[in-house]
């Protein structure tokens, strides 16, 4: 599963930030586009498995899915794409182009404050 590779890349990025902060990470929020094809359950499972025995063990992942966006060629507005109804939500036109999909981002990490 490609989620394993994503989990490894995440662990690396979080560990680097944790070293900078010299603190224990507790939660992380990531965001992704539709085309990243991420299954939340699979990613969380993979992340849990590879963080065993690391500083990130027990961390919680929050995954935000950003919808695909279209740019209407008729009214020039961008809109959220609904795969079951492929038309501009503002004017109803079917003439639109797909905007680039959201990238896979590590948005935010929450750290424990030292006692």
């Amino acid at each position: 599963m490609h989620e394993t590779m994503i989990a490894e890349s995440l662990l690396e990025a979080i560990s680097a930030e944790a070293a900078k902060q010299n603190a224990k990470p507790v939660n992380a929020r990531i965001s992704c586009g539709t085309l990243n094809a991420i299954n939340d359950e699979v990613l969380c499972f993979a992340f849990e498995a590879i963080t065993k025995g690391t500083l990130c063990e027990g961390m919680k992942l929050e995954i935000e899915h950003k919808p695909m966006q279209g740019l209407c060629k008729n009214c020039n507005e961008s809109f959220k794409i609904d795969l079951s109804c492929l038309r501009c939500t503002k004017c109803g036109s079917e003439d639109f182009k797909l905007l680039p999909d959201a990238p896979l981002l590590l948005e935010e990490i929450e750290f424990q404050t030292e006692q």
Partner: protein
């Protein structure tokens, strides 16, 4: 507890390799097509036939991705074309780093076109850029005409789509596959997608696919 804003791209290592691959291919003016489909839709059969039929016109090399085994690379080598096998060892997609080392082992300067046969999977490979010139989605009529509607990402990202095994529709096999529906669904998200209904077995429809390949190779030479 306190929060730190990071805003860092994940999988940036893959993107860096993809960029390297794409720079190499652009510099050398080579066309590189990443073939993506479910297992068994006929990618290797399409490749072996394409290589043989075009052997006097386009010099083709292949990067074969499979979870295990060297079987597909051997099928390609039987046509005399160079092939590098990558075994992903369980992973559901090829990575740009794997393609980078395969490119180093192919005699690129002798080739016009490099095909990458990705691991059989309609979802995951479309999330990993390899630095290819374009993606090609392959769908066989045995899989059902609802695939473009159900798996939009690969069809949205592909420059062309091959609908393979159309011989089955004529052979009286019980298959409900509406080519027009598959085409219309693929075009909803990707107006410019080229669509070629073909049979790698009988050769039907391949002429259009070959003309398209010749045009794309020629574009790079200009």
């Amino acid at each position: 507890m306190y929060k730190v804003n990071v805003g860092k791209k994940i999988l940036s290592a893959n993107e860096e390799y993809a960029l390297k691959n794409s720079q190499l291919l652009t510099e050398q003016k080579k066309l590189c097509l990443n073939m993506i489909s479910s297992p068994g839709s006929g990618k290797t059969t399409i490749l072996t036939r394409t290589i043989s039929d075009l052997k006097d016109k386009i010099k083709i090399g292949v990067i074969e991705g499979d979870i295990q085994t060297e079987i597909d690379a051997e099928r390609i080598r039987a046509t005399k074309a160079p092939a590098i096998q990558i075994n992903t060892d369980g992973a559901c997609h090829l990575s740009a780093a794997q393609v980078n080392s395969a490119l180093e082992n192919l005699p690129i300067s002798d080739l016009d076109l490099i095909f990458i046969e990705n691991v059989g999977n309609l979802v995951c490979p479309s999330a990993f850029e390899l630095g290819e010139s374009a993606k090609i989605a392959v769908l066989s009529v045995a899989e059902g005409d609802d695939k473009p509607a159900k798996y939009p990402s690969i069809f949205a990202k592909s420059k062309a789509m091959l609908i393979n095994k159309i011989d089955l529709l004529k052979a009286g096999v019980q298959i409900d596959f509406d080519i027009e529906r598959a085409k219309a669904d693929a075009r909803k998200l990707n107006k410019g997608i080229e669509i070629f209904p073909i049979s790698a077995k009988t050769g039907e429809g391949l002429a259009g696919w070959y003309d398209w390949l010749k045009r794309e190779v020629k574009k790079l030479r200009l």
